[in-house]
């Protein structure tokens, strides 16, 4: 197992490096820089600014310095747009917010999704099953950018129960709507996958054997059925996690929560390259690490898998 984790990590590291280099090169091939956006500066001033940020050096050297800064000091450089703020500052202010509603969404989606899926499978072809399946189908066409306005319309504009935006340090009433908006479509997906994989397991031979032995039903479900049924679910959890991080862009934009997605979109609109790159690299690394975690869990749950 340790061997396997090390081997996966050895693959993960070059992948992160590729992401860094790729986004750096993309940025450099872009027409127009961060300082050419608004009114044009005099040539000397521009040269001075570019010199200050080291942009007059050859590409290779800039790349090496950037990489070196990240690896040695975890330094993503200064923001090109906001003076006195480094990319690290922006990430430090946005990341806790994203993490808060991200983790809640993830817990919410996986717990309720798995529970719904298991119930639907156990009560196969009853009204409960139809209700859960129908709900899951509808939920899967309600991505975050559809749920967000609908929730605000219902709970903020009509019922006036919850605020339609803001963060206020993460008070509970500000967290609820973003979490539901972000989680719904993934919850639905997880429920569907859980249901179909649970059904498949419940129809397999070893469950029949367990029933024939006379084991009590709840014991069969908890000790025999659940573990193998969770394998496909695990894969979809990994995808959900990535989707939720990506979805934070929408959530931050719509609810003005001030998370990392907001910085990303602002930076994208302002051509603030260092911020875009910093966020992309951070999100990319997180994605890779989470996928690694899923693979390790996979190998741990399923003893047949040996890499």
């Amino acid at each position: 197992m340790l061997n396997f984790i090390i081997r996966r990590l050895l693959i993960a590291i070059p992948t992160i490096l590729i992401i860094i280099l790729l986004s750096f090169l993309l940025m450099h091939s872009a027409p127009g820089g961060p300082f050419s956006a608004e009114r044009s500066l005099p040539a000397e001033v521009l040269a001075n600014i570019e010199h200050k940020y080291g942009m007059d050096k050859p590409v290779i050297e800039q790349m090496a310095r950037y990489l070196w800064g990240i690896l040695t000091e975890f330094d993503f450089g200064p923001s090109f747009k906001y003076k006195n703020q480094s990319v690290n500052d922006l990430i430090a202010s946005g990341f806790p917010v994203t993490l808060t509603y991200g983790i809640w969404s993830f817990i919410f989606a996986s717990l309720i999704g798995v529970t719904l899926g298991v119930i639907a499978a156990l009560k196969h072809n009853t009204w409960l099953d139809y209700l859960a399946t129908g709900g899951a189908i509808i939920g899967s066409v309600l991505p975050n950018f559809v749920m967000a306005p609908l929730l605000v319309l219902l709970f903020s504009v009509y019922l006036n129960w919850l605020p339609g935006g803001g963060w206020e340090g993460g008070k509970i009433q500000f967290v609820i709507l973003p979490v539901i908006a972000l989680a719904t479509s993934y919850l639905a997906g997880i429920a569907r996958i859980t249901r179909s994989s649970m059904l498949e397991v419940l129809n397999s031979n070893f469950i029949r054997t367990a029933k024939a032995k006379g084991l009590p039903n709840h014991y069969i479900i908890l000790h025999h059925a659940l573990k193998p049924a969770m394998l496909p679910v695990l894969t979809s959890l990994g995808l959900s996690f990535v989707g939720m991080i990506t979805g934070s862009v929408i959530i931050d934009q719509y609810f003005s929560t001030g998370g990392i997605g907001q910085h990303f979109v602002n930076a994208a609109l302002n051509r603030d390259y260092s911020v875009i790159m910093g966020v992309t690299i951070l999100v990319g690394s997180l994605t890779i690490l989470f996928n690694l975690l899923v693979e390790v869990l996979y190998a741990w749950i399923d003893p047949r898998i040996r890499y």
Binding site: S23, P31, P143, V146
Partner: protein, 309 residues
Amino acid sequence: MYIDNKKVQDLADRLSSSAEIQGRSLWQDARHRFLKNKAAMISLITLTIIVIFSITGSAISPWNFEEIDWDAMSDVPTLGVPSIQSGHYFGTDALGRDLYSRVIQGTQISLMVGLIGSFIAVIVGTLYGATAGYLGGRIDGVMMRTVDILMAIPFMFVLILLMVMFGRSIYMIFIGIGLLSWLDMSRIIRGQTLSLKNKEFIEAAVATGVKPLTIITRHIVPNVLGIVVVYATLLIPGMIMTESFISFLGLGVQEPQTSWGALINEGAKTIQHGTLWQLLFPLSFFIVTLLSFFFIGDGLRDALDPKDR
């Protein structure tokens, strides 16, 4: 002993006509199963109506999608409401433009993104996956490792990056979506190819000296076509969602062109002003179309899945 004369007669009839019974091919079988699937059939009809609407619907509208109705613009919540008299069947947007024509325009763009995205996925993903699976060995390792690495990249961020750098245009969306859509497809096809590779008919082709590329295109690809069709259908809603996601952020299609995501975004901004139709019309089109694609995809999968036969 009691013998049911009618049954005996039936049996005799059937035996005498047995020469005419023909075997059904996989595709005939699948079509039969698909036609029996009510949800899928209703979805197919709905989708056809939406497609026809998006092509011909603008003929009955007095407004086009970028024309501004200055009267309605002065007081959108009262003059811009959906009505037959004013010619704004779906009302107007916040700028006084006819929402009916804009929804048609958005539907065209969104459907096109879905179709082109899955077209790229089918072509690139199938060839890539089949090649990797058929050649095997080190080439397969390198090719699939590349897919793994590409999959680990958070594509939405890269796509936004691309949009920022090379200008926001619908073509950039096509390229971006094309870049990420084929990855899943190639994995699925590779898996299928691996199981086909050792079948006798492939061996026969190899033995008669057919070139690898011809084997892939003539023998392997036709045999994975069923799965390709199912996944392509299931991919379309994903493509449409990706495009809407980006357009919702205002980074996708540019004015005066529009798409569902952009329309939903515009509608979502004005929900406090009592102009609900601006949100609900594009939203219903989005949801109904996506649901239709899901049901059709599910129906196709059930119809083509040999496990259920």
